[in-house]
């Protein structure tokens, strides 16, 4: 096996030494390793071949695995996802890249009525091991139809699992976890994370990934208040927490990582200690993931420890606008979090 190299692309399998790379490359490395490890794994999506994917994630995979396993598709989201369901129930392991998460609107039947329900409806006589990658989120000036964060829909559907990694390592490890899972897993990827750098221990085989679907993690410990988030906003929360630390307020940051099933225990534990909760994500607040986190806490043993109303700092209730100023105002910025944390910390008890 080739050892880890320092070239532009990570070749998998690789040694287990720590290296610095991007979120996109960590995903690519996981796909590569999984495809080398298991003949049944293949990819399908729009422009994932020679083009390398709209965000460059699959760059180089076509040359390495050929067009049988890296399949460029027509612009037919319904057929792409439906095809993946049919392939998954008959012995292969499809990974689908939806070019922008917004286009999944064209594939809701195969995802929700088929993939999510077949195992249950068929009395357990079938498994649907497929992975659907959804690049979403705002911040690129792509406007309302190319910037949505739709994860709340999928987290509402029994039969689906939803992960939303924020770190380079989790993007790598959770993709393996998704691939090894016998159920359909939606992977929420924020476009602005792709170029973000971080440390990665690239796994030699999917089985080496320690990640488990359904486990949140405390990325920063604190005693004054708890912040729960996922994907890009986890980083904004960490930045804001850093600023508050300078002011003497210790914020505990919980990275949810999985949105269905949601690891409410980790949040409840934290809030039981801090007594205050702030939830943040880019999607609009109304009936979003944050609402579920709040409801889980408000209905739990943590209720008795709550010292202040629970705060949500989420996207504005409007479509994502094109103009930079309007787009920025629509999604929660680190500064908004700093202010909200300050206010919550100041709530006298």
């Amino acid at each position: 096996m080739p050892a880890a190299d320092t070239t532009d692309r990570i070749e998998g399998p690789v040694s287990t030494e720590v290296q610095t790379t991007t979120y996109a490359k960590a995903i690519a490395a996981a796909i590569r390793t999984a495809m080398q490890d298991d003949e049944r794994v293949f990819m399908a999506g729009e422009d994932i071949g020679i083009y390398g994917g709209a965000f460059g994630v699959t760059d180089g995979l076509l040359e390495e695995f050929g067009e049988q396993r890296i399949r460029d598709t027509p612009i037919s989201e319904d057929a792409i996802v439906g095809m993946a369901v049919g392939a998954a129930i008959t012995g292969t392991r499809p990974i689908v890249e939806m070019q922008f998460s917004d286009f999944v609107v064209n594939a809701m039947d195969p995802l929700v009525n088929q993939a999510a329900k077949l195992h249950f409806m068929y009395g357990g006589n079938v498994e649907v091991p497929m992975v659907l990658r959804l690049p979403g989120g705002a911040g690129t000036g792509a406007a309302a139809q190319h910037s949505q964060s739709l994860e709340a829909w999928f987290a509402h559907v029994p039969g689906l699992k939803v992960v939303a990694p924020s770190t380079v390592q989790d993007a790598h490890d959770l993709l393996f976890a998704a691939l090894l899972d016998p159920n359909p897993v939606v992977v929420v990827e924020h476009k602005l994370l792709y170029k973000r750098e971080g440390e990665l221990v690239a796994r030699a085989t999917p089985g080496d990934s320690p990640a488990t679907i359904g486990d949140a993690v405390v990325l920063r410990e604190g005693t004054d208040l708890t912040v729960a988030s996922y994907s890009l906003n986890t980083h904004k929360a960490l930045e804001a927490a850093e600023q508050l630390a300078a002011e003497g307020t210790e914020v505990e940051v919980v990275d949810l990582r999985t949105l269905r099933p949601l690891d409410t225990e980790t949040v409840i534990d934290s809030v039981s200690r801090t007594g205050k909760l702030l939830v943040t994500h880019e999607a609009p607040a109304a009936v979003g993931i944050g609402a579920e986190v709040v409801a889980a806490v408000a209905g739990s043993r943590a209720f008795d420890h709550l010292l202040a109303p629970i705060v949500r700092v989420c996207g504005r209730e409007n479509p994502i606008p094109y103009a930079p100023g309007l787009e920025e105002a629509t999604i929660p910025q680190t500064e908004d979090l700093v202010e909200a944390m300050r206010a919550l910390a100041a709530e006298d008890v």
Binding site: R40, F42, Q68, R69, R71, T73, P74, S76, D78, A79, I80, V81, G82, M83, A84, V85, G86, A87, A88, I89, T90, G91, T92, P94, D109, P110, N113, Q114, L118, H119, F120, M121, Y122, G123, G124, N125, V126, E127, V128, P158, G159, K161, L180, D181, P182, N183
Partner: protein, 326 residues
């Protein structure tokens, strides 16, 4: 090699028996319903038996089918056990889906039946994926995809046929054109000359078949299956047939005349035609035909008897039933 050969007596009797089994199965459902023993929705294919039996007979062991909301015939023709189907429709633990699916979700994936589907055209894109995985896994299995005339106006029909065609996958698309999509006459809802004519859009030469003529159905599908297995890609077949019963129980049949229904029943019934033909050709005698009918009747009677005795599922199963685990 097709598993059925209706051109020789043994195969002919087998096909006839299966058609009778399907009809008796659905008549039994009507009976159970009228006796208040059957809840929920179901859709009967009485009058369309030759499509299911002819098409599935043209498959080989290891081939797959995808079916529709009107799928009892497809399942039986593909080898499903009527007792387990009744059990499913009666919501019993022993049913194909443990009572979780009902009529619209009967499946036996292990046996190559990828399932009925409650979504019109919902299984069409799945059939393309099943064919792709067989191709990737080096299997020579073919996928037979059933769908209705109404389904041809869904975007899924279009995307599925295009994808199967550009990837040259072994999917045989069989449209059961029973003239109506619920209350909509096919020619009012579907532009163009015919469903078969839509093949042009995908570089496929669509073929129309007499869906009430068993040998014709068998031969047409057998040819398409052979070509698909030999790597010549997908096929689009249109089987002309007719639904005798209402779309479902709520149907008052206001959109068609009794005369129309009667005409199809009396002049084009697929079972009667096949029996007459067999006698004409002297392929089999009346006694053999009576035995076939009798066998079907008894099989269904016993199946119902056994199914109604089966236990209902326990609520405790729900907790673990949503996600597969390794």
């Amino acid at each position: 090699m097709p598993r059925l050969d209706p051109s020789e007596p043994k195969g002919a009797i087998e096909a006839l028996t299966t058609m009778w089994t399907i009809r008796r199965f659905e008549e039994a459902l009507e009976d159970l319903y009228s006796r208040g023993m059957l809840h929920g929705t179901n859709h009967l294919s009485i009058g369309q038996e030759a499509v299911a039996v002819g098409a599935c007979g043209a498959l080989d062991e290891g081939d797959f089918i995808t079916s529709t909301h009107r799928g009892h015939g497809h399942s039986i023709a593909h080898g499903a056990d009527p007792e387990l189907m009744f059990a499913e429709l009666l919501g019993r633990d022993t049913g194909y889906c443990g009572g979780r699916g009902g009529s619209m979700h009967i499946a036996d994936v292990g046996a190559g039946n990828l399932g009925a589907n409650g979504i019109v055209a919902g299984s069409m894109t799945l059939s393309v994926g099943a064919a792709l995985s067989q191709h990737l896994l080096g299997s020579s299995a073919v996928v037979l995809c059933f769908f209705g005339d109404g389904a041809t106006n869904e975007g899924s029909f279009h995307e599925a046929l295009n994808l199967a065609a550009v990837w040259q996958l072994p999917v045989v698309f069989v449209c059961e054109n029973n003239q109506y999509g619920m209350s909509m006459a096919s020619d009012l809802s579907t532009a163009g000359e015919s469903v078969a004519a839509r093949g042009t859009a995908y570089g496929l030469e669509g073929v129309q078949l007499d869906g009430n003529d068993l040998p014709a159905m068998f031969e047409g599908v057998a040819n398409a299956v052979a070509a698909a297995r030999d790597g010549h890609g997908p096929a689009l077949l249109e089987a002309i047939t007719y639904r005798y019963r209402g779309h479902s129980k709520s149907d008052r049949n206001l959109y068609r005349t009794q005369e129309e229904i009667e005409q199809w029943r009396t002049e084009r019934d697929p079972i009667a035609r096949f029996e007459a033909r067999l006698l004409d050709e002297g392929a089999v005698d009346q006694e053999a035909i009576d035995t076939a009918r009798q066998a079907a009747r008894e099989r269904i009677r016993d199946a119902v008897k056994a199914a109604v005795k089966a236990p209902e599922p326990s609520v405790d199963v729900l907790e673990e039933a949503v996600y597969a685990s390794r």
